[in-house]
Symmetry: C2
C-alpha cells in the first residue's frame, strides 16, 4: 500500500456538531481534542512521517470571542496532549498578535517530545497571506519547515482549502469526509488511505 | 440560485479518454475542443462573469513531443474558436519559452472579441512558481488580472489542483466530475452549479 509521507488535516464541522446537539457553537471544539490524539496515534503506527493540523487562522479570530476562546483552548490542549507522545512538534502562526496563545510559544521552534519521530505541525493563528509575505520561492515562506503535502483530509463535508498552506498544497490529493470532525472514527483515516492508494502521483507532470 | 462569478475549469482525462477507445494518448486532446466551446456558451448564457481554462503547464511540456504538439494545437484551436464569440480573452503563461505558441501572443493582453462581455482566461505554458515569482501580494503575481475563483470544476476524477492558480484558489469550492473531459455533457455544469448553490461562502471566516 502506498502510504503518504505527509497528511494535512482540516478538522472542520465543530460548530455544526455542537448545534446538531442543541449546544451553542463554542461547545463543539472541546470534542475535537481526543480525535486529534487518536488520529495522531494511527498515523504514528502507520509510519506517516509528517502530520499538519489546521488549528485556527487569522480570519477565524474575527469570530465572537466566546468561540475564539473555545478554539484557542482546544488547540492548546491538543498540542499539550501530543507533547506527551513521541513526536517532533512545530506550532506555526503569527506570534506577534495577541491572538497567538503564549502557552504555545515553546513550540514555535520544532520541539522533540519523548523519543521524537513523526513531525506534527499545528497551524495556530495562521494566515496564507502571512505565510507568503516574504515569498521569493518555496524555501522563503514562513512555513518553509513544513514539507509538501501528499494527502489532505477534510472533515465536515466542505470541499475547499480555506487558505490551508497554498504552496504545500499545489499537488495534494483531497479527500473529503462528510462527518463533522468531533464525530471522527478511525475508519475515516483508513478510508482516506485506501482512496489515496488508488491515485497516481504525477506532481503536475 | 447563487451563481459563481468566476469558474475555474480543469479539463483532465484527455489521454485516458483516448486510451479507453484504443487510441494513442495524443489523440485525446482534439476531442476536448468542442466541449470547451459548449461550456463557454453555457456560462455566457448563465451570466457567469469569468471563466478560466487550465490549458497546459510548464510541467506538461516535459511529456513526449507528440502529446505536447497535440495539446498545444488543441489550445490554439480552442482560443481561436472562442475568439469568434463575444468574450474578453486573456492568454496567460510563460511567453519567453519556445513552448509558448506564437499564435496566441495577440491574446497576452486581454482582447475584446465581438461585443466583449464574459472574461475567458486560458493558462498556456503556465506554472505556479512562474506565476508567483514576483509575489509580494496578490496584485503582484503574473496572474493578477485573473480574479479569485469561486468554483473549480475538474473532469477526470482526480481530486487535486495540480498547480492551478494557487492564490486565486485559496477559498474556492472544488467539484469533481468522474467523466473524462472529452465526455463532457451540459448536465455536468448544472450538476456542479446545483452543488455550489448548497455551499456557504465564508472566505475563511
Amino acid at each position: 500500500m502506498r502510504i503518504p509521507n505527509h497528511i494535512g488535516i482540516i478538522p472542520d464541522g465543530n460548530r455544526r456538531y455542537a448545534t446538531s446537539l442543541g449546544l451553542t457553537k463554542d461547545c463543539g471544539y472541546i470534542h475535537g481534542i481526543l480525535p486529534g490524539l487518536t488520529l495522531f496515534k494511527q498515523c504514528q503506527k502507520l509510519g506517516i512521517k509528517e502530520l499538519t493540523f489546521y488549528g485556527f487562522t487569522l480570519d477565524n479570530t474575527k469570530r465572537p470571542s466566546i468561540q475564539k476562546n473555545a478554539f484557542t483552548d482546544a488547540c492548546i490542549k491538543s498540542v499539550n496532549l501530543i507533547s506527551k507522545e513521541n513526536a517532533e512538534i512545530l506550532v506555526l502562526g503569527n506570534t506577534s498578535s495577541k491572538n497567538f496563545p503564549k502557552e504555545l510559544l515553546p513550540y514555535t521552534k520544532r520541539k522533540v517530545c519523548g523519543k521524537g519521530g513523526i513531525k506534527v505541525n499545528f497551524l495556530i493563528n495562521y494566515g496564507w497571506e502571512w505565510d507568503l509575505k516574504n515569498y521569493t520561492n518555496s524555501s522563503s515562506i514562513m512555513s518553509s519547515d513544513i514539507s509538501r503535502i501528499d494527502l489532505i483530509i477534510r472533515w465536515g463535508g466542505r470541499r475547499r482549502l480555506s487558505g490551508f498552506l497554498p504552496i504545500q498544497s499545489v499537488y495534494s490529493d483531497f479527500y473529503i469526509i462528510d462527518d463533522f470532525w468531533p464525530n471522527f472514527k478511525e475508519t475515516h483515516l483508513f478510508e482516506a488511505l485506501e482512496w489515496y492508494n488508488t491515485q497516481d502521483v504525477t506532481l503536475g507532470g
